[in-house]
Symmetry: C2
Subunit: 350 residues, 2 copies
DNA sequence: TGTTAGCACTCAGGGAAAGCGAGTGCTAAA
DNA sequence: TTTAGCACTCGCTTTCCCTGAGTGCTAACA
């Protein structure tokens, strides 16, 4: 069967009306919204075709039509108008970005919050490294006989440090030598190789040193495998309950549980595209089969990629969400991407 | 009116039954649960008295009785049996604690998760400093001409560091001198005084130094006022929806919103008591007026106090929650409290 | 061949009526 | 002070009916 222009137009009307009202739309109402004069009977014929082709479905026999997942997909791919943001909307986004975003670590969480107030759907935010992080340099600083500080500089310009207690006193002169040892053997290698290297050293250094080296290397290993930067933040999750499709408490609970207690499994982009949309059953997680997700990513520094996801019912306002989210992500990249240092915009301070 | 022993006994039965079933309890059912043979009519007289005194209320005329907030309060204060944990339960808690809790920063979040699986109610977790944190020591490490690392050691044994870019090259020899300057002037003082001190130095050092000092002091100030350690974590928030009192979507949404999007306003202890219970209307936040909160705190190191809160309907199982939570908090204190260093239990490693 | 009017049919949702049953308060006797 | 007896209350469930929106089909029309 042919998907004529008129059928597409009808589908678009149904999708947009349903997105707006969450009510099925009948032939008569559609006829009124159509340009030109067409009778509801004609529309009914078209509706029957669209249903048969799988773009529309009926909640029950005597109700109007609602879009199917396939219908939304066609809408998103072909029918949706990709209206660019108005200057006012752009300004609003830029304004919200100007502000106290200094620490790289906070960018991700704050970006999620901002996105949520921007699109008014629940959002989640995360980040990951584009390539593996390694240690760039070690530094051991003496504190007193009982402790020293291990400073570890990572390849992504983060610097981490921790106070270490020692069981038996180390003469301060030993620390630089140990730093040197660490810097020659334990930089620019993945965490997995560290233990092997360490074992190789075990008979070349005195046991007291080995113990301390072990501690530092262990700490570095933890940093490299640290997944706290893969932490997922959600914002406005409870808004999901204000959508009529989630008035049912069990449905709401299923999704809420997924969003707040199981954040780690929220979808991540599978392509390099700047934006990805998953509609209803396209989601792999069961909990999301009746929801849609819009994801966009942005750059943080030159080795991190931030992710923002928007969760909503399948009838989410794709056009608006996609427009705002992509502009927002671009702005974030402009602001935080490709820059060695996180906090550098304070050049001209007193 | 007198609150006789028998009245208390009846109240206890009503509270515990209601906690268990969420159903009002009638005079006949109570009579059966009472030791000795007492007719339901007698119970009815007692119930009328208890209602008049404000310990019980009726959802409607022809229903049984349920406890009022005042009734729960009496139950918690006097009637509840503070059964200590069985050895098995204790073992379960200790087992769950043994594990990958190394980084102080992760203790708080993990403790919340563990508590949630322990009590099976939603929980939240946070921490705060007992006394103000100050800087103990600064250290500036050269990296290259364009940058250096600022290491800041705090009075609570945390060590923080950040890479700093400089606009014009600094000769490496300057860094130790600047460290010295920082260590003499900017340690052991609150963040508020830092700016003043800095201004006092403005005409004693060359402008290039001043610029860098400013950067480091600013960074230190951020650390001291950093509120990321006041971050609140919630676990299992969506469980709230499985309680019949929150089957109503609007009630559920109100509470969920408070717990996941407004965590910062969840209650904190107002006393130094090891455990505090807020019942229904005793809560200040409107969102919690129909819920109860059990809070316990524990020590982290010698200057931090962790908090775990349990949220549930007013008919939450106070006895079990209180018993488990207090034991859990004690265990945490035993494990992480009063210790200079976070990760020290690996004494006898190879 | 596509469009339209007409018509019988379907079905979810809402409201009224009725019956059920758990539980109460009150009275009077033990 | 306790108990048995009894009339009464009231939320909940079920049943029934009605309404109205919307459909699919048929037959006539352009």
């Amino acid at each position: 069967m042919e998907l004529t222009e008129r059928k597409k137009q009808i589908l678009k009307i149904v999708v947009e009306s349903y997105i707006d009202t969450a009510e099925p739309l009948g032939s008569k109402a559609i006829a009124e919204k159509m340009p030109g004069k067409i009778s509801s009977a004609t529309i009914r014929n078209e509706l029957a075709d669209l249903s048969e082709m799988g773009y529309l479905e009926q909640p029950h026999t005597s109700a109007g039509r609602i879009p199917s997942a396939k219908g939304y997909r066609l809408y998103v791919n072909e029918l949706m108008e990709r209206r660019p943001l108005s200057p006012e909307e752009q300004a609003a986004i830029n304004d919200s970005l100007r502000g106290e975003l200094r620490q790289t670590e906070q960018v991700v969480a704050r970006a999620g919050q901002m996105a949520q107030s921007l699109v008014n759907y629940p959002t989640y935010a995360a980040a990951d490294h584009r390539s593996a992080v390694t240690v760039k340099r070690y530094e051991l600083l003496p504190v007193d006989e009982a402790s020293f500080i291990a400073v570890v500089m990572l390849s992504d310009s983060r610097v981490k440090s921790q106070l270490m207690a020692v069981d038996l006193p180390v003469e301060p002169s030993a620390l630089p030598a140990m730093s040197h040892l660490l810097n020659t053997h334990f930089t620019a290698i993945p965490a997995q190789e560290m233990n092997g290297k360490l074992m190789g050293l075990s008979d070349q250094v005195v046991p007291e040193w080995f113990l301390l080296l072990n501690r530092v290397v262990e700490y570095a290993g933890e940093l490299l495998q640290d997944d706290s930067h893969t932490q997922v933040f959600t914002s406005g999750a409870s808004r999901i309950m204000s959508f009529p499709e989630f008035r049912d408490i069990d449905k709401a609970q299923g999704l809420m549980h997924f969003m707040v207690d199981n954040k780690e499994n929220l979808p991540v982009p599978t392509t390099d595209a700047p934006m990805q949309i998953l509609i209803g059953p396209e989601n792999v997680s069961d909990a999301l089969k009746e929801s849609s997700v819009v994801m966009a990513s942005y750059d943080i520094g030159d080795n991190m990629r931030g992710l923002i996801g928007v969760v909503g019912p399948t009838r989410m306002d794709y056009a608006t969400v996609a427009a705002r989210l992509s502009y927002f992500a671009e702005s974030l990249t402009r602001m935080f991407g490709k820059r060695e240092l996180p906090a550098k915009e304070e050049e001209g301070n007193p």
